[in-house]
Structures are given as C-alpha cells and as structure tokens.
Symmetry: C2
Subunit: 330 residues, 2 copies
C-alpha cells in the first residue's frame, strides 16, 4: 500500500497547534493539542484501564459543544492534574465556553501509566500542562521520547526485562477533497508494534537471547506468563481535522480511529490498556463531510503515528528503543 | 507470525453448535450459533448502520444473564424475523430464561444488508431461523457463500461493478491453558480484505481493467467517488469460548474482538457498515479467566475467520469470488 501524500504532523491541520512538556530525568511528560475556540470534540474509550477527564461531556447527548484543547499526559491518574494548567493558560487568553460568569475552558484529557519508568513520584502537574500549552505552535510536532511519550514503553508480553521504548508519534494526510486529517498518539501498549502495510514486526517483546517474539504468538504459543498483565500500559491520542464534524460524527471518528491502533498494536485494547482516542474537528474547511473518507484517513494517520512513535523513540531510563536495538547498541 | 494450533471452526468450542440456512437462488441466508443454557453473552456494535435485536439486555447493568443462541442473518432489518424461529425451536426443547410463566429463549441477533444481491423480496424469516437451528451440529461449520454469508459482498470502494463476493468464515484456537476460542464472521464489508500477517491484499475493489485497488488507497488517492457509500454493508459475527466469563468480560471480549475486523477489513467500521460482534461464553472450562489472553485469541480467530470467509466464498448472482478471480474465471 503506497500513499504519496504530504508528510507532516498533526499541526499541519489548519487551526491546530501542539506542544510538549518533557521531563527526561523523571521519564514523564505531557502533550497539549490546542484547537481554537470553534472545535467540536468526540472520544472513544476502548481499553480496560482508562484514566480520563471531561470525556462525559463529549457525548452527543450532553450540552457543551466545544472543546478548546486536548491533554495527553503521563503520570497515571495523577497526570490529569496537568489539565488544570492548560485551563489556566486558556483562561488567561479568554478562551473558553461562554457562561454567565466567565469563560470555562474545556480540556478533555487522558493519561498513560509511566510510573514504572524513571521516577514514580514526579508526574505532570498544572505547571507542566501550562508549559506544554505555552510551547504549542504550528511547527511539526516532535516525535519519540518526548511529551506524553517520554516514559512510554511497549511490547511487555515477556515481562519487564523484554520491553521496548515507546513514545509519541504523529502523522498527517489530506483527502482528495482538501480535508486535512492528522493524529498524535502516545504509545504505551502492552502489545507489540507491527507495520500493518507488510505485517512486519517493529517491536516485539525481547527474549533473553535478544530476539523479538511475536506479541500475539507469545500468548497463543504459551511463552506468555499465565497471569494477567499489570496495569502499566495505555495508548492515548488525538485525531484532528478541519472538517465540520458535529459531535456525533466526532465520536464516530474517534471510535473508528481505534482501528489504526488495532492495525499496528497487537494485541490491542487489552484489560491493562486504557486505550483512549479523541477527535477534534475545527470546522475551518466548509467542504461537505464525507465521514467514510474521514474514517479511512483517521485510521491511516493513527496507524502511521503509532509506527512513528516507536521508530522515533530513543532509549531512556535503561529501556532501549528499536532505533538502538536495530543498530546493535545494547 | 506462525501459530500452529488445531484447525477447526467455532463448533470446536465445547458446548457450541452451529448451523446454516441458505437460499442460494435468492442470495440470502442465516446462521445460528446455539450455546446451551449456561452461556453468558456480550456484544459490541461499532459500525454506523447496525441492525440488531436483544442487544440491550447484554449490558452488564441489565438483569438477564444468559443467552441461548445468536442469530446472524441476511435480509437487512427484515432478517431479524429469523430470530422468531430460533426462539420457537428453543422453546420446543424447553430451553430459555426461567420466568414465572415459562422459559423465554434469549436470542440476540444482528443482520447484514444483502437485498442488492439476488432477490430483494426474499429474506430469512422465522422458518429460515428454525431451519438453521435445526441444522445446527458440532460438525465443522461450512464456510463461504452459505448461511448469513450467502449474499455477502466486499470491496465496494469503486462501486457495484467492482465488488467481490464475501461470505461467512470461521476459525478456532486453543490457548495454552486449554481455553477454547472460536469465531464465525459473515463478511459483507464496504472495505477490502487484507491478510494482516503479511499485509497482502486478498480482495480489493476491482477496476475496469480487472486489477484490484487498495481499498484505503482509493479513498486517499481520489479514485473513490466523492459521495458517501450506500448502506449495503455490515460485518457480523460471534466469538465463542468455553471460559467462564461474566457479562462485563463477555462485552469486553466482544469489543476488543473488533480488532480482528480492523486488521483484515480496510477500512472497517465505516458509516455504512453496521459491524456488530457478539461473545458467548459457555463457562464449561473452569480454568481461571485470563482476559488478556482471551482478547488476543478472539482477535486472532476473528481475523482468520474474515480471511476464511472471503477465500472460501464462491461466485453467486453474477458476483465473482477471489477463488474464481485468482483462477482467471470471469
């Protein structure tokens, strides 16, 4: 499958800016995607162990019809505090949902578990969230062991000794009708990573002899320890588009975009993955919505973002990345 | 990825029998999976255009905690009538949920749209559902253009002239701890079919010159007609296991098993696909539940069932199958 479309990251979507806050020493961080004050949001929580904030209001039945930013954060449930800082940053700029007593910024958020990498007692807080919002720009979003992907890891099917560094990645495409679709995904999966285009294994759980195992195979063939994996995972991300989606459509795109995770993370959506995706639609492009095309594009960019995350990652806190492993650095 | 596990179909799961009713002349049919009187059920509806019956009671909040059969049917929403006949067959055998005034058989059902293939005015009815239940056995379930897969088609990204025959498929595996997991899936997708193990295209929309297009590529590269596809699709299936899942776990497995569709059907879960999966757990195997392993196995067998469906299909009503296309029959 070849697709010759513009390279780019989620910030190539008109109206979208994004920024990271990274604490490499403590191996945690957060990422903020700012989407102006006209964006409609949706979400889909698919994993067994999610950590989220402001997801209920994204239901099409609920009243609030705008989101102002999405926060992706490390730090497990503690990391939800980083949204406080994003709200403060937005409030200072007068951005928020109009209420009788001031504008209230709407910042849906999801976290991933990285307490087992680096320091467990340092997590993204309000200051970190504010810093990520402050850093946001329309420059290409950095990939790898930064932002919400700083402490991310993958391929845990053979235990902690065999895991591989995860990270955050991004991808972008335009549809023939001019609609932009981009994604940023922080990949901290229990499963391993495949390239769905040729089925090849990018990051599988590493055996003692250094070889990588097929991450589904270790379960089906019995290499996998029989107990349930611990809840140290979760892949989180944002799909952004300039299409004029309504809330129900934004939720549908968030739901179907999980197929991009399913294509590349194997197995995905386990009990110990709190996999959560958001969709934000700025509505800047008046082209009539073709939801099937947007679903296909969203799946495509989410899958490419996962691959980018793991291929761009660099080793941290003693955990090696595929980049290092492929160059024989041990 | 190699997995050397027992070949088989969903009927290899202890306690599960299945049967088809096929009307090849009218190009429709239905498939019934019988699961005894101890099975727990769950479901996940992911597509944009579902047609279902008795799915609400599968919510873990609802009271009824047993299902007796699952019906997969062609005939669009009309095909839900086939569940009447499955209920009657079960009632005659005294199988059902105990109530003060008799046992009520619980038969969750989902349909696919096949009215555009063969005759539109013939659809599975109560007699058809009863016949499928009557035909159920523990023999390997037949694959291809039979049962709910009789009128199924795939790869519609270039319009009606370019589609390829779909069907119903099945697969089975056992986990190292002895748990059985099987699936039966009727594949009537808007998307094309890939083998996720090597990324190869099995069934893509056919161009006028006979070549198959990449089904995501036709959207991203602009070969795809700009309008939304019509609602003539939907992939439906059942995952069965002998594990002792509770209702919440059965719903979780049904949800994550959609990853098996995502791996092989590209794009999947579009607005015109009513993709719905059920999970039934007979509880016959007392081995403690390892939900992550069951999720991985469910994803695996669903993906293999999709591939089996399309590879086993035979041409019908002027629509050619990959088997025929690969042998130059036109």
């Amino acid at each position: 499958m070849r697709h010759s479309r513009p390279a780019g990251t989620i910030t190539a979507v008109p109206g979208i800016t994004a920024g990271h806050w990274t604490d490499a020493d403590s191996a945690t961080g957060c990422t903020v995607v700012l989407c102006g004050d006209t964006a409609v949001g949706g979400t889909a929580v698919r994993g067994g162990s999610p950590g989220t904030r402001e997801t209920d209001l994204l239901d099409p039945m609920r009243r609030v019809d705008r989101v102002h930013a999405i926060l992706l954060s490390g730090g497990s449930a503690f990391g939800l505090a980083a949204a406080d800082g994003v709200q403060r940053w937005l409030e200072e700029r007068g951005i928020g949902f109009e209420t009788p007593h001031g504008r209230v910024p709407i910042v849906p958020a999801a976290i991933l578990y990285d307490l087992g990498v680096g320091r467990a007692d340092v997590r993204p807080n309000a200051t970190a969230g504010r810093a990520a919002a402050y850093a946001a720009s329309d420059a290409p979003l950095a990939s790898g062991s930064v932002g919400a992907g700083t402490g991310a890891t993958v391929a845990k099917g053979l235990g902690p000794a065999g895991l591989v560094k995860g990270g955050i990645g991004s991808a972008y495409c335009t549809l023939p009708n001019g609609i932009s679709v981009g994604a940023a995904v922080a990949v901290n999966a229990w499963g391993g990573i495949h390239d769905h285009r040729d089925g090849s294994l990018i990051a599988g759980p590493r055996r003692d002899d250094g070889t990588m195992a097929d991450p589904i195979g270790v379960i089906l063939d019995g290499e996998y320890p029989p107990s349930e994996p611990s809840m140290t995972n979760t892949t989180i991300g944002v799909v952004a588009t300039d299409a004029g989606l309504d809330k129900a459509q934004a939720n549908f795109v968030a739901s179907s975009a999980h197929d991009g995770l399913a294509l590349t993370i194997r197995p995905c959506h386990t009990t110990s993955d709190g996999d959560t995706l958001f969709c934000v639609a700025t509505g800047r492009n008046p082209t009539p919505v073709n939801l099937t095309a947007i679903v296909a594009a969203a799946t495509h960019v989410v899958a490419l973002a996962v691959i980018d995350a793991v291929r761009s990652a660099t080793g941290l806190a003693g955990i090696r990345s595929v980049r290092e492993l492929n160059h024989g650095i041990s």
